[in-house]
Amino acid sequence: MPQQFAQSQHQNSDTSENQKQQCSEKMTSLRHQQDALDAVLDDISSTLETDAEEYVSSFVQKGGE
């Protein structure tokens, strides 16, 4: 069972203490996010070194549903 969706978790509490903490966590997480995004873009750059035309045009699927 995905814990985030489990029945014990209903409402997010919204006290001002929590909000302050969330704000500071958010700033740190934004910085981490940009680093992470750069790493993913590096991975994509390597992927794009392959033959994009072959990769895309070879995918032809007939039928279905």
Binding site: F5, H10, V40, L48, D51, A52, Y55, V56, G63
Partner: protein, 523 residues
């Protein structure tokens, strides 16, 4: 298989003893995913159809057919056009359907790994098989990810058309998988291929909801709603949310139909569902009033009513209409406006029926779903679209393409399409795993849970009975066949059992006798 029936809202008219879940809000969920196949880097030409057959060689040798049911209760088969397809076992909770769907991905990966090793012996050491969990190839073919919901028979097809379809079209602002095509970027993979709203056609034109009536349950009690307009999702959040929010909307529609009252969703009825679907798909802002309704006055007055109510009813923890939604005088509406109205009506309904609705989902918290839904709408409404890139497929993909275009202004349309396809390539794709690895895409299910689901069906539906039957047959060597509602053995013992109630996980005397006879034959 049950014989096909006319899809009216009446059963046979015979008085029947209703199953115990008939009067509750319990639901059966199922996902059918068609995968696309391609091959690259081969020394000689290779037909994807041939590769699909290679994938299914182990299935063929076990079952003597490419259409089989597995120990986890699911159906694995090779569909028309060489589409590998996986249909999850019946689930009572969206989270179980998600785990079963991920087990399907894992099974497909195993089949590809075997086939790729074989292929490299004959087609060169770099031959690579790609399996796409998406809905569009490069030549304009479309294929589906179908959702099944068991719905009480008294919900009429016009109710599905007028009250559910506007929700299914507009929910795609948070469940769409995104598509790069010759026109640029769209929210959904499927909008341009769907021409009809609710119809029984499958070949002449594609409807958004198919009325083919195979309830796989007592047809006097239930119909099986077969939703075909949805995209295949990589995001686990999106998979749970599309099932869970649709369930909540269906609860409201069922309650209204049962009591002979309006659900409130009538106000959202679209004047042209396929035009609305296409317009929604190309409005990346989700704000533009691109959809025409059958009765705009009804919609505006419903908005006004809820807006007014929310001003005096602020104490409620979760029923609060979004103040930032400006009520406009436009003759057409945006996807967000429709979604907010659905959200509000559902929230109000759950507030009145919290216990019953929560009881319909064994694991998932309906209030958490309601919060997540609202959070997604608010983020889209407030222009915080990027904040959803860790859970909404189209936003994740769109962000990557935008960022790559900034980094490399020469990024070609073919390269953009490659990024799009790579995101859905479950065998040799790199982008989705990279997003997960760098924690830019949320996951909700552990690898262990998926591993267990390879052989374990949901424990609280008839899938448990099918799973036990198949496990027993494989262990004892008894020849068997089965489908969603029938189990049969032939050699050395003849026997059969019906499992017609999808909520029954215990089985009746006939089922117990069948299992017993198989066990005896082993001795």
């Amino acid at each position: 298989m049950p014989e096909l029936r006319d899809s009216s809202n009446h059963g046979s008219g015979k008085h029947t003893h209703h199953c115990k879940e008939y009067d509750s809000y319990a639901r059966i969920f199922g996902l059918e995913t068609e995968y696309g196949v391609s091959v690259t880097e081969t020394d000689q030409s290779c037909d994807p159809g041939q590769v699909a057959m290679m994938m299914f060689a182990p299935v063929l040798s076990r079952s003597r057919t490419t259409n089989t049911y597995l120990e986890n209760g699911s159906r694995l088969y090779l569909d028309v056009g060489s589409h590998p397809e996986y249909a999850t076992a019946e689930a009572r909770d969206p989270s179980d359907a998600l785990v079963q769907d991920l087990a399907g991905e894992s099974i497909m990966r195993q089949l590809v790994d075997n086939a790729q090793a074989q292929l490299r012996k004959t087609h060169g050491p770099n031959a690579t098989i790609h399996l796409f969990k998406n809905n569009a190839d490069s030549a304009g073919h479309s294929f589906g990810c179908h959702e099944n919901y068991l719905v009480r028979r008294y919900v009429s097809l016009p109710a599905v058309n007028h009250q559910l379809l506007p929700f299914l079209v507009t929910r795609q602002i948070f469940t769409g998988a995104g598509l790069v095509n010759e026109h640029g970027f769209e929210i959904t993979q499927r909008a341009m291929f769907l021409e009809d709203g609710v119809s029984s056609s499958t070949t002449r034109s594609r409807p958004m909801v198919n009325t083919r009536d195979e309830p796989h349950a007592n047809p006097d009690e239930f119909r099986r709603l077969h939703v075909i307009l949805g995209d295949s999702n990589r995001s686990q959040w999106a998979t749970i949310m599309k099932l869970a929010t649709t369930h909540l909307v269906l609860c409201v529609i069922e309650d209204a139909a049962k009591r002979g009252i309006d659900s409130g969703f009538e106000a959202c009825s679209l004047s042209n569902p396929s035009a609305a679907n296409q317009a929604m798909s190309t409005d990346l802002s989700c704000h533009r009033p691109v959809m025409a309704l059958e009765n705009i006055k009804l919609f505006r007055s419903a908005q006004q009513r809820f807006h007014a109510n929310s001003s005096t009813d602020c104490d409620s923890a979760f029923v609060r209409y979004e103040r930032n939604v400006q009520i406009s005088n436009a003759e057409t509406v945006s996807a967000l406006e429709i979604q907010y109205l659905y959200w509000y009506i559902v929230a109000q309904f759950i507030e009145k029926h919290t216990g019953e609705i929560q009881a319909s989902l064994p694991e998932t918290s309906c209030l958490y779903v309601l919060n997540e839904w609202k959070h997604a709408l608010d983020a889209l409404n407030d222009g915080q679209i990027a904040s959803l890139s860790d859970r909404v497929d189209w936003i994740a993909k769109h962000q990557l393409i935008n960022q790559m275009s900034k980094r490399n202004p020469m990024l070609s349309s073919v390269q953009q399409r490659e990024i799009d396809l790579n995101y859905h390539d479950i065998t040799n794709g790199t982008i989705y795993p990279s997003l997960v690895h760098h924690k830019l895409m949320n996951t909700l299910v552990s690898d262990d849970a998926v591993q267990q689901a390879l052989t374990r069906p949901p424990a609280d539906t008839r899938a448990a009975l099918r799973g036990t039957f198949i496990r027993c047959a494989l262990r004892t060597g008894v020849s068997f066949s089965c489908d969603w509602t029938h189990l049969k053995t032939t050699v050395p013992v003849h026997g059969e059992a019906e499992i017609n109630d999808p909520f029954d996980y215990r089985g009746d005397a006939q089922y117990a006798g069948l299992i017993e006879s198989m066990k005896r034959s082993e001795v």
